[in-house]
Symmetry: C2
Subunit: 460 residues, 2 copies
């Protein structure tokens, strides 16, 4: 709990109008998409980097926890004030696009800029920022960088870390560091920018982000494959990349997910299918698009696809993507509580992973619909249960643990894009050795010796 002199000091830094200790603010900033709730003692709206410096210097001296927060749309509790203290919210002031540098295809932004606003701004000038997490309409670039967000276009274009060229950040000491450059290459000093990406606000507070942009390809086309089994679809996925095609997106829905979307929206989806693959390709010439689609069709058919359908226009493409975009909300069809995880395995292990998930679901008597970024080996696994039924919920939790075990055994990871935060922290010891965990702790200490930055996260 902060005392009144601490609140007064912090209020003086940012001004009263940017400092809130009232119940409504503390509640509003206590949530994220996990539905867990941890109230901060104070919500601050820093105006600029100098505010961040003063806040951190003070909190470091007073050992007050500081939690940087984007839109609170995270799935693992990364933005929650697990140990109270101060939440830093960037949406009021530090939300500006500072520069779109057309000559170098680079942009500089403040952490509070919303992903979609940024995408729109760069597309208006013919450029392209590929990372598109499902939360893109509200999540912020600061949050995206801190969680190393992925998205649908990662199969071809990579994830947030592939676009972070440079960062400005404030250390707990209040000192500003610059990491990386507005240059394509930079090998001077340690790759601190690379380390800060995905560090979930535990090492430093971002004050400015320099992002790489690319020219927007002129053409894009959507296609869909309908497969008799999820295994056939998974085989087609990994063999596509081996055939020399790198689709922008390659997403799958399993039979249970297709059924849920159809039950909810009645769109005439192929509910008999074991799985569907939805894919986009892009390029600059019609021939390049045709070549990619022909390769895709050949691979899909060779792996048992009964249908390969090319969208003829924007409307057809939107109709195909509708199923994928509405997969997540449809799943309440199977139960009121969803435990969703974003495990990731090497693509060739997908068939085995899906088999094991099916067996785990049967063993614990829970439907586990799966969908997601199969082009990245990233599966959104949804154990549908009921929190109010204690026995059933306990079984669902056992299923989640077994799913993590399966992912790790198949050379995979606990998280492809959602991060660790609070939700997956208990599983870190499953994925990392004591030596690796000790190294994480040592790195944390190098940045944040008093453990004021987002304490209690990542199991560190």
């Amino acid at each position: 709990m902060l005392n009144s002199s601490q609140i007064g000091a912090l209020s003086q830094i940012v001004g009263q109008e940017n400092c809130y200790a009232d119940k409504a603010h503390r509640l509003a900033y206590s949530y994220d998409a996990t539905r867990a709730s941890h109230q901060p003692d104070l919500v601050l709206f820093p105006r600029h980097e100098a505010d961040l410096q003063a806040i951190l210097r003070y909190c470091n001296a007073e050992k007050i926890p500081v939690v940087p927060r984007g839109a609170g749309s995270g799935f693992t509790g990364g933005a929650l004030a697990a140990q109270g203290g101060v939440v830093l919210a960037f949406e009021k002031h530090m939300n500006q696009i500072l520069e779109i540098d057309m000559e170098n295809l680079v942009a500089r932004v403040q952490p509070g800029v919303v992903n979609m606003e940024f995408q729109n701004a760069v597309e208006e000038v013919g450029l392209f920022y590929p990372p598109d997490p499902a939360s893109q309409e509200y999540s912020t670039l600061g949050g995206n960088v801190s969680e190393n967000a992925g998205g649908m276009r990662a199969a071809k274009y990579g994830i947030t870390k592939d676009y972070v060229m440079a960062l400005r950040a404030v250390l707990p000491s209040g000192e500003v560091i610059r990491a990386g450059k507005k240059t394509i290459k930079d090998v001077a000093g340690y790759n601190i920018a690379g380390l800060l990406v995905g560090s979930e606000g535990t090492l430093a507070v971002l004050s400015e982000i320099t992002l790489k942009l690319i020219p927007k390809p002129a053409l894009r086309q959507t296609a869909m494959g309908i497969f008799p089994s999820v295994k056939a679809a998974m085989n087609a996925t990994y063999r596509t990349f081996g055939a020399g095609v790198t689709p922008v997106a390659m997403e799958f829905l399993d039979q249970k997910t297709i059924a849920a979307v159809e039950a909810t929206y009645k769109k005439g989806l192929p509910t008999h299918a074991g799985a569907i693959l939805i894919t986009d390709v892009d390029g600059n010439t019609p021939e390049d698009i045709s070549w990619q689609l022909s390769q895709l069709e050949a691979v899909f058919k060779a792996n048992g696809a009964e249908t390969f359908y090319r969208a003829k226009n924007e409307e057809e493409a939107a109709a195909i993507w509708f199923a994928r975009r509405n997969a997540s909300p449809s799943l309440k069809h199977y139960g009121p509580t969803k435990l969703n995880e974003d495990i990731t395995v090497p693509r060739s292990r997908l068939p085995e992973l899906l088999d094991r998930i099916e067996a785990i679901g049967q063993r614990h008597d829970h439907p586990i619909p799966c969908f997601g970024h199969t082009g990245d080996g990233n599966v959104h696994v949804n154990v549908m249960t009921n929190k109010k039924d204690a026995v059933r919920y306990h079984n669902a939790e056992k299923a989640i643990t077994e799913i993590f075990e399966a992912a790790i055994e198949l050379e995979g990871t606990l998280s492809g894009e959602h991060g660790i935060g609070l939700a997956k922290a208990p599983f870190m010891n499953m994925a990392f050795t004591p030596a690796e965990m000790a190294l994480f702790a040592a790195v944390k200490k190098a940045f944040d010796p008093h453990n004021i930055l987002n304490p209690g996260k990542m199991g560190i």
Copy 2:
């Protein structure tokens, strides 16, 4: 100096046949491409990861410096035993390609594998490993990762860090850590793999490297633009990327370099030109290649190119590339001693950078031919001087300092691909603030508390 009991203990770990304290070995392993010489006390050829663990555990306890070494082809002294101690050489045993995983487009290698051998092995099965440093015929993947090597294909395909998916490494404590995964995405824990890339052997010793591969595009074509001035060529460079074309390579030679190559090899190069741009594009359809070349031609002509020449076949392409590949050795035309640096700036700052380099050369009365990876903003700057003429050499060193100052002022970096090592360590304070240098030191300490790993490098 190691005493005989220390040498005995280390010899016992790797076996006598892998342990050398004789003059010839100490001399042979004292050099790299900088021509500086620092003799180690002992040269060890570890057989496997367990040897690395035992060596590091022992050296950590005894505070003996340990210097991991690739092929010794570095330009900044990264592989030199600046404080004596043990050199670890990987070419005898730890030089195997462990796996080429066709299903996931991933390879696992030991650090001693030579870059070109690896490229050849993956191309034999239709895959592609883009990073191609000029040293590719002898430099090792362990060295490439430790220096974050670039190369000619970086303009489109990125640099070594973009291909490192996972690492196994041994800490000074002797503990093995795994960092990263054979998955496209992995956001569990800190990005330790990203931090180890480019850390010049100062944080841990690599024992295994997992690299991303891509399908090899079917088609490739070379073209050349002849420009009246270096400024015109630099303008054309950065405007090319803005026009939506990303060439595989975009390399330039300035007038002095063209003249030196022509004087040395008599190939009929356009010695009247202010600069030439050599570029490769690749793709999977002839139309995509044509589209890219048309865009290039339009941009080159709009920026004053007098000629845009498309190579008609492999022989013509090889003839065009001959000039670029032989640029470096030709420069002795201008003087016996070459001080070469690989500064990098945002592409749009290239015209100004080249102007400033020209002025610096005139002020200090030294020819400074420039060539390099202009598509990355990465210029190889060559101050041609004579080490035996003390006054002249001192002026050349002043020119180098001014060139670094210009690069930093133009938002650039000391090094695009060669690293810092010993050679650029004195300039680190020019590029980084005390807070940033202190952070590097704290990170170093988190990994290597007794400073045994490659001590004295990177100014840390």
